[in-house]
Amino acid sequence: DTAVSQTPKYLVTQMGNDKSIKCEQNLGHDTMYWYKQDSKKFLKIMFSYNNKELIINETVPNRFSPKSPDKAHLNLHINSLELGDSAVYFCASSQDRGVGTGELFFGEGSRLTVL
């Protein structure tokens, strides 16, 4: 069973379109994250949710809107896609804050290409 799964794995779309990436974790974790990895392989945090509540919101364009329907799911919707949004987006989860080692469990990534 995949611990953190995200779909789709690949996404190719035109500029200006709207797209969504879905993420689910079956680890029972309370905290989920979206990270963006650009062409230079630098992983940058975008958002974090703890028990459906937004706790980290980095300086990300408001075209990006996360949504957590329950603590096992965290989706990312992107409006009006731009060329610079092309990257690999990783979903991750961790134990509740303050508990355990805080290690992150990552999904396999969703590679977004904007043409």
């Binding site: 392989k41 630098f42 805080g102 290690e103 992150l104 990552f106 990534g109």
Partner: protein, 112 residues
């Protein structure tokens, strides 16, 4: 501003030798530091965590040191194997409540 620096140049090493990677940080007082491995096209996978009051941690052929005075962590792969070829990322969290920030990673290539 807070910074995490890893050697951006790939580390090429012969099988059987020890690979040593460096992670330097500035303007952090981390409670602990983590190391991850990332293979091409895959998500990072957690390897080791070392706390601020620990000098050294080992896991099989991996060894991590943490020097809070130098603001540096070293990651060693002993008796390296071609299967160890990957990118290794260090990550810092100021405390259990803070966000985990990653370095850019160092690619390791182990040749037979």
């Amino acid at each position: 501003s807070q910074k995490i620096e890893q050697n951006s140049e790939a580390l090429n090493i012969q099988e059987g030798k020890t690979a040593t990677l460096t992670c330097n940080y500035t303007n952090y007082s981390p409670a602990y530091l983590q190391w991850y491995r990332q293979d091409p096209g895959r998500g990072p996978v957690f390897l080791l965590l070392i706390r601020e009051n620990e000098k050294e941690k080992r896991k099989e052929r991996l060894k991590v040191t943490f020097d809070t005075t130098l603001k540096q962590s070293l990651f060693h792969i002993t008796a390296s194997q071609p299967a160890d070829s990957a990118t290794y990322l260090c990550a810092l969290r100021p405390d259990s409540w803070g966000k985990l920030q990653f370095g850019a990673g160092t690619q390791v290539v182990v040749t037979p």
